[in-house]
């Protein structure tokens, strides 16, 4: 069985700058892996490469054995990879339910003819999509259900918007979820909730998750494995405790201890 996700010798250059340098990663079904590193390390670039927004210069990205390099973003979603964004990007003027229904786009197929003539297949599919969307939203309890379903997305609170974005990504029925800083902008309580949520996504819904994080509470709280990056390369990989104490990781975040370092600075 091929791993659910595999990156091999991935390279991306922007002009003279090497943003991603020979990156390798393997993720098995059901794992929760976090990707950490200082700003500029290349983490979001990896996400953009995987989801097809930047073309890789060389290397391979495989989902369930399928090669993703060279595919368009929408095709990659069809192959089971979905993502959320660092600065929550919803469809602000669409309702909560509609946002999630868009997530179902790659799992449905009715087109113009079906829509115009309201063929039975169209109607059945619409119903199914609607129900599945509601099911995804139900995962978040009452927060995103009931009257909220028909509210435009811009009216939601920040935390609810994050949840909606996750629901939308869930609706794509992806096998792998890429989450970009899911706890950004959250207070400690919300951060706790999101940490739990990520676990639940795996335990109850079977998603495999790769997420970028700066907040070590989340990383520690829920990752099976941690991957650290700096300057486009992987510098450490393993359990949280191992990686957290790795010298190169500490150096990447805090800077090198200088020779004549006196304490306090």
């Amino acid at each position: 069985m091929p791993p659910i996700f595999e990156c091999e010798a991935l390279v991306k250059n922007f002009g003279g700058l090497t943003a991603v340098n020979n990156f390798n990663l393997r993720i098995e079904q059901g794992e929760i892996v976090s990707l950490i590193g200082p700003n500029g390390a290349g983490k979001t670039t990896i996400f953009n490469l995987v989801t097809g927004f930047y073309p890789a210069d060389s290397g391979s990205i495989r989902s369930n054995g399928h090669e993703l390099v060279g595919l368009s973003p929408y095709q990659i979603t069809q192959h089971g990879v979905a993502r959320t964004f660092q600065n929550v990007r919803l469809f602000p003027n669409m309702t909560v339910l509609e946002n999630v229904m868009v997530g179902q786009h790659s799992r449905s197929k009715s087109g113009v003819i079906g829509a115009i003539f309201r063929l039975p297949s169209f109607k059945a599919e619409e119903e199914a999509v609607r129900e599945k969307a509601k099911k995804q939203l139900a995962f978040f309890g009452t927060r995103l259900s009931g009257y909220r379903l028909d509210e435009p997305a811009y009216r939601l609170s920040y935390a609810n918007r994050r949840r909606l974005e996750i629901a939308r990504a869930m609706a794509t029925e992806a096998s792998l979820l890429l989450m970009d800083e899911p706890s950004a902008g959250m207070n400690p309580k919300e951060t706790e909730e999101i940490t739990e949520l990520i676990g639940q996504l795996r335990d109850e819904r079977g998603f495999t998750i790769l997420f970028i994080e700066h907040d070590m509470r989340v990383v520690k709280g829920v990752s099976d494995r941690v991957v650290a990056m700096d300057f486009g390369t992987k510098i450490a990989e393993g359990l949280y405790e191992t990686v957290a104490q790795d010298e190169s990781v500490v150096e990447a975040y805090l800077g090198r201890k200088s020779e004549d370092d006196t304490d306090g600075r």
Partner: protein, 591 residues
């Protein structure tokens, strides 16, 4: 604006002067641009007062109203419930001050014109105009004083009206509005009332060949007053009746309403006659195009400023395929036989336009499509392509549309074809909106990048939008060609694109009833108000600007778009700015 409740005397005067200045600008603008002069030919009330003079008086009056309105706003800056009433003396005074300015500006104009022949530069300052604005007295002392006096008095009166009893104020304002409207469309009323079936005396009593009759005017005013008195009671009783209805009753009522509308729609040409039917057909042309463009701009969010190109392709392909003209390719097909080909060819043109612009956004897309539209027109006009499509001479001998042995000719008959095509376009738009395709378009419109991430094949959907929009435009073009019997390149100018887009915006982007409303306003009204014809585009332009500033969501806004364009609604906990959404994928230096 001054935010102190109790304005000093000086500031009140200053405010009145400022409003007077606005009045002066408006008055002089209308004079210099020639609107006053042009409308002199038409009477508001036959032999009593011309529209030009009426407009002048309206501006006098309006200035006074404006002055007091501004005074009230300045005295009540926080829009509180309890308003400080303006003392009548100040209302009259403000009005008078503003009015004096307007009148004086006219006097000044007349004086200057007596020294310098302004007409050499400003074509509208003719002797006729001077007659109008001096109310017949010309370059005499009376001629100078009368405008000043009239303006002051009228403005003072309306100033006083502003603070009068609410019902009096409303009645007067509404009377003025309705009389003006009725007079402007008096020709239409007259023609309609002259149709067989109406008693002969009706048209002649209320309207004349030149504006309303006195009796007609009085009737309008009486009606306004009557509505003012009885209206509220009728309305509340109706509301009670509606509320008291059962659910089934409500549904039935709705069906009855729709039934009436459809009945009216089907019998309209017979009611209004030939010329108005022609107007209706032109409106229909644009309604069809409006629905098509609505798919491209409203649903898919692709700003197409070159829609005329598709209209042209539709018209030209219909022409080429059906014409009997010997030197043009003409296959001599019938309308119906050619139609499928026309639709397919135009659909293909849609794809041709769509492919190059796939990567473009917003403004750039608009400009490129504008460019395409102009290229299409140039090509149609060129000598190079004229052996195929007629060049500047166009294509003639396009046969009429026939159904079997019956030839469909004349506006009243063709009307039904337009209704049919419009209904088809409406139906398609309506069905697509609430579907997977519609959602995909909306997602694409909101955030293309994210839509891609969610599995929406934006390339396909963009091309689909262009293709469908083009195909619907081809219906309009085909009907246009067959209706006129001949087509020439000058009918396919950028103005068509601008009109189509404008009617979408004015009607309300993304809203289907808005398309109809927009077409009626932007295409229908100018046709009816024939003198406006010259100034039609001036009014368009002003209307577009005003709408965008005051009511960007349009006449009949669609629910989602109204949200987008008015940023009053805010999130539960914070300000959510659409600018956040515009961020592209992180730049390389970020991670």
């Amino acid at each position: 604006m001054i935010h102190v409740r109790d304005l000093s005397r000086t500031s009140k005067v200053q405010l009145a002067l400022k409003m007077g200045l606005f009045g002066v600008i408006l008055m002089q603008y209308l004079i210099f641009v020639g609107i006053i002069e042009t409308f002199e030919n038409r009477d508001l009330i036959r032999d009593v007062i011309s529209i030009g003079t009426w407009m002048t008086l309206l501006i006098f009056a309006g200035t006074g109203y404006l002055a007091v309105w501004a005074l009230e706003r300045a005295s009540n800056p926080s829009h509180e419930e309890v308003k400080i009433p303006i003392r009548r003396s100040w209302a009259v005074g403000s009005g008078a001050i503003a009015g004096v300015l307007v009148g004086a500006s006219i006097a000044l104009l007349v004086i200057v014109n007596s020294f310098i022949e302004l007409r050499n530069v400003f074509v509208s300052i003719s002797p006729e105009l001077i007659e109008i604005v001096t109310f017949g007295r010309g370059e005499t002392l009376a001629g100078l004083l009368i405008p000043i006096a009239l303006a002051t008095i009228l403005a003072a009166l309306t100033g006083s009206l502003y603070v009068a009893r609410e019902d009096v104020r409303r009645t007067v304002v509404l009377s003025v509005v309705w009389v003006t409207l009725a007079a402007l469309i008096s020709d239409l009323i007259r023609v309609s009332l002259s149709r067989p079936g109406f008693p002969v005396f009706l048209s002649r009593t209320f309207t004349s060949s030149n504006g309303l009759t006195v009796l007609g005017t009085v009737t309008v005013v009486v009606l306004v007053i009557a509505w003012g008195i009885f209206g509220p009671r009728i309305q509340s009783r109706r509301a009670e009746r509606i509320a008291a209805r059962s659910e089934k009753g409500q549904r039935n009522a709705k069906y009855r309403q729709w039934g009436l509308v459809i009945l009216l729609l089907l019998t309209l040409p017979a009611i209004v006659g030939v010329f108005p039917s022609e107007v209706l057909n032109n409106i229909g042309l644009y309604i069809i195009m409006g629905f098509g463009l609505n798919i491209v701009v409203g649903m898919a969010g692709l700003l197409d400023l070159g829609y005329v190109a598709f209209f042209a392709v539709g018209a030209y392909s219909m022409a080429v395929l059906t014409t009997a003209q010997p030197d043009i390719g003409g296959l001599g097909l019938s309308f119906w036989a050619a139609l499928p080909f026309v639709i397919i060819i135009t659909g293909f043109a849609g794809l041709l336009v769509g492919v190059p612009v796939l990567r473009m956004r917003g403004d750039y897309l608009a400009i490129v499509t504008l460019g395409f539209g102009e290229i299409a027109r140039f090509l149609a006009l060129s000598d190079w392509l004229s052996p195929f499509i007629g060049g500047a001479q166009g294509i003639i001998h396009i046969p009429n549309i026939s159904v079997g042995p019956v030839v469909l000719r004349g506006p009243q008959v063709l009307y039904y074809l337009f209704v049919l095509a419009g209904a088809v376009a409406l139906f398609i738009s309506w069905r697509i909106q609430d579907s997977r395709t519609g959602r995909a378009w909306m997602a694409m419109r909101e955030d293309e990048h994210v839509a891609d991430s969610m599995g929406v094949n934006t390339v396909y959907y963009k091309l689909l939008a262009f293709g469908m929009g083009a195909m619907i435009a081809s219906l309009s073009g085909a009907l246009f060609a067959a209706k006129l019997g001949s087509i020439y390149p000058h009918s396919f100018s950028v103005l068509v694109s601008i009109t189509a887009l404008s009617l979408l915006i004015v009607g309300g982007i993304g809203s289907l009833p808005g398309v109809i409303a927009g077409a009626i306003v932007l295409v229908g009204l100018p046709e009816l108000l024939r003198e406006f014809g010259e100034y039609r585009l001036l009014i368009y332009g002003a209307l577009l600007v005003t709408m965008m500033i005051l009511r960007p969501e349009g006449i009949i806004p669609s629910v989602e778009r109204a949200r987008e364009l008015r940023d009053d609604d805010r999130a539960q906990d914070q300000v959510f700015s659409l600018d956040d959404q515009a961020a592209a994928p992180s730049n390389p230096s970020g991670d």
